[in-house]
């Protein structure tokens, strides 16, 4: 049994684990008038506040319910906007103090050759904001030579320190890949027929040496990532802070995390096969859920992993001794070559909102294009602005009314909420689609979607 199950008697084989330190509170019975209420009369919600023995007082409209003498009453249909109701209840607590604090959110953008770009962002989800806990997702992006290296990880929701695992796994995996792929460039002028990707049956090796080198690097990155997760736990074993919070000495399972790694390079420049976009290669390896997918210029979607799942959603695998064995890794590497429109690597906080992947990931791409996050357009902020009357401004400058000019300018520009002038915002957004991505991840609404959200996309800016 897990070491968490302190509440369960040692000899029991109960499958239940009781979380230490959390208990329901039991308010003393105060309102005897409620107990004596007429049991045949349904009580409208507004009365329940006087019998509110729990202290919670949600603002709900009064609801009546029909009574019946035989069995439970049938629910009346009332108009209900769950989003609106929930909205008022969500708390926005700051990231808590303590070791291993993770920023609320972050983003990154790297321009690439061949008119491509890679951007990524990770934001703390509504659930963690509501509970006042840390973001558990992590991502890293690095480039070396012609390679772009991406790692995305999601710390297990049930594990208090999984965020450490997510960060350590990403950073160490990317470091390995950067080291291995430095100087590893394909022979100039190589062609890439389908047969080039032939694999040795059963063991997951590529027959082609140059490709197999990358496969080996991915395997090594996964293994080192798991090593680093374990090392991170060992390093913290003597620290009482962790033991106090966990109720036991910290162990690597407390840092459980998923991991997706992907590497990209261009095999042939644009025009080589009369296509306007270059020919890309992506190779990936993963343990856990989330998704990695390649969208080509024909909008075809190629999934680059088979997410781990159980009988019910929410059940997945994490990095472990078992998951980095040859038996596992040999089935976990995927590769694809094509004319890349966009590569997506994301945690399930986003992936779950785009099911089924075929069609919905196209939808995601369109969404990102419309928000000017990806694609060939320069981002513009979507706020209205009025043209500046330069003549008027010049006159006022001449009259030396500097303060007047400023307020006049502000009024003319119509900036009420922005503290920076719109032109500054424009410049900022024009340079950083990563920031727009971050804002979008933080704000899009899907019912029941309140996990941390992390999305990395490598995309072509070539016009479609």
């Amino acid at each position: 049994m897990s070491a968490d199950s302190r509440e369960v008697k040692p000899e029991s084989r109960s499958p239940v684990v009781f979380r230490p330190g959390e208990s329901a509170t039991y308010a003393p019975d105060q309102q005897s008038s409620c107990i004596a209420a007429d049991e045949n009369k349904a009580q409208p919600q507004s009365d329940s506040s006087s019998c509110d023995l729990l202290g919670a007082a949600p603002s709900l409209p009064a609801e009546g319910s029909s009574t019946s003498t035989n069995g439970p009453s049938v629910a009346e249909e009332t108009a209900w906007d769950v989003r609106q109701e929930a909205e008022s209840l969500w708390k926005q607590l700051p990231v808590p103090d303590g070791p291993d604090q993770h920023d609320e959110s972050y983003s990154q953008m790297i321009p690439l050759p061949n008119r491509m770009k890679v951007i990524g962002s990770s934001v703390r989800g509504k659930k963690h904001k509501h509970e006042g806990s840390n973001r558990d997702d992590w991502f890293e992006i690095e480039t070396i030579g012609s390679w772009t290296i991406i790692a995305v990880a999601d710390g297990a929701g049930s594990k208090k320190f999984s965020r450490i695992g997510a960060k350590e796994a990403c950073q160490s995996a990317v470091a390995v890949l950067k080291r291995e792929l430095a100087q590893h460039e394909f022979a100039v002028g190589r062609v890439w027929p389908g047969e080039a990707f032939a694999m040795v049956p059963q063991i997951g090796f590529f027959k082609d040496e140059e490709l197999d080198f990358i496969r080996a690097a991915l395997w090594q990155a996964m293994r080192v990532a798991w090593d680093q997760v374990q090392a991170a736990a060992i390093m913290r074993m003597g620290d009482p802070h962790y033991e106090d919070l966990l109720g036991h000495r910290i162990q690597s399972s407390d840092l459980s995390t998923t991991l997706i790694i992907a590497v990209h390079t261009v095999l042939e420049d644009a025009g080589r096969d009369s296509h306007s976009a270059p020919l890309s290669l992506v190779m990936s390896c993963s343990v856990g859920d989330g998704i990695a997918a390649f969208i080509d210029m024909d909008d075809r979607i190629e999934l680059l992993m088979k997410p781990d799942s159980g009988a019910f959603p929410g059940e997945t695998e994490f990095l472990s001794d078992e998951m980095v064995k040859t038996k596992q890794l040999s089935a976990r590497v995927h590769s694809f070559k094509g004319h890349l429109k966009a590569l997506f690597v994301m945690t399930d906080g986003v992936a779950d909102d785009y099911l089924p992947y075929v069609n919905e990931l196209n939808e995601l791409y369109r969404e990102l294009v419309s928000k000017r996050i990806v694609g060939d357009q320069q981002p513009v902020p979507d706020r209205s602005w009025k043209p500046i009357d330069l003549t008027k401004m010049a006159r006022q400058l001449e009259a030396g009314l500097e303060s007047g000019v400023k307020s006049e300018t502000d009024e003319l520009l119509g900036s009420s909420s922005a503290s920076t002038a719109p032109s500054e915002e424009l410049a900022k957004d024009a340079e950083d689609p990563g920031a727009i991505l971050e804002r979008w991840l933080d704000s899009y609404y899907v019912r029941g979607s309140f996990d941390d959200r992390t999305l990395v996309t490598l995309y072509s800016e070539v016009p479609q």
Partner: protein, 211 residues
């Protein structure tokens, strides 16, 4: 982008032995459960409730989203058709709950609470076996009071708890714990590894875990 629901089923014994204070405490408990859950945004967005009551027969209030769920009117009389209740549960879970497929995420693993204060009076064994085979989700059974039989419940599920009596305070504590468990589950929606046992809040002193 289908929404992902947490289906919650409550099976409540409304037999004659529950008459008076016990059934009133159950009413209060359900009312408090609804009020408390409706104050939790994660439960509001994901939890769907269904209540099955059973006495001489069993009946079901269909799976409804928490925000729209109306408190049932409960009364106690008659015998204890537990088998009928289990059958209703199994059939409705089968038709209600969406399994994950290539094209949809599926509902979260259902949470099922069963509370009974005495021996079943119908043929329940077969239904209990069918239910176990169906693996509908996490089932927590509660043997409420001195006449309840926890070993009987152990044939339905491994997770069995016991209430010493049917006092209002005890039943209130039970429903408080059910509420807390539902909240914890709707909050803990996120990953677990495939062999992780269910995570529930520690039960209060009035509830004993049956080993």
């Amino acid at each position: 982008m289908a929404e992902r629901r947490l289906p919650v089923y409550l099976l409540l014994d409304c037999s004659g032995s529950m008459t008076g204070e016990p059934i009133e405490a159950v009413r209060q408990g359900v009312r408090a459960l609804l009020t408390d859950l409706k104050g939790d945004p994660m439960a509001l967005e994901t939890a769907y409730l269904s209540i099955i009551t059973f006495d001489s027969t069993a009946r079901l209030q269909p799976l409804t989203e928490l925000g729209k769920f109306k408190e049932p009117s409960l009364s106690a009389s008659g015998s204890t058709a537990l088998g009928a209740a289990l059958k209703l549960l199994r059939e409705n879970v089968k038709s209600d709950v969406k399994k994950p497929t290539e094209t949809q995420k599926g509902d979260w693993k259902p949470l099922i609470f069963l509370m009974t204060d005495g021996q079943p009076t119908d043929s329940w064994q077969h239904e209990a076996d069918e239910l176990k085979n169906a693996r509908p989700g996490n089932i927590i059974a509660c043997a409420a009071g001195p006449n309840a039989d926890s070993s009987m419940l152990k044939q339905i599920t491994e997770i069995v708890v016991q209430l010493n009596d049917l006092q209002p305070d005890t039943l209130k504590a039970f429903f408080k714990w059910v509420t807390s468990s539902i909240r914890t589950t709707s909050q803990g929606i996120g990953q677990v590894s495939n062999d992780t046992p269910i995570n529930l809040p520690p039960p209060p002193p009035q509830i004993q875990i049956v080993p």
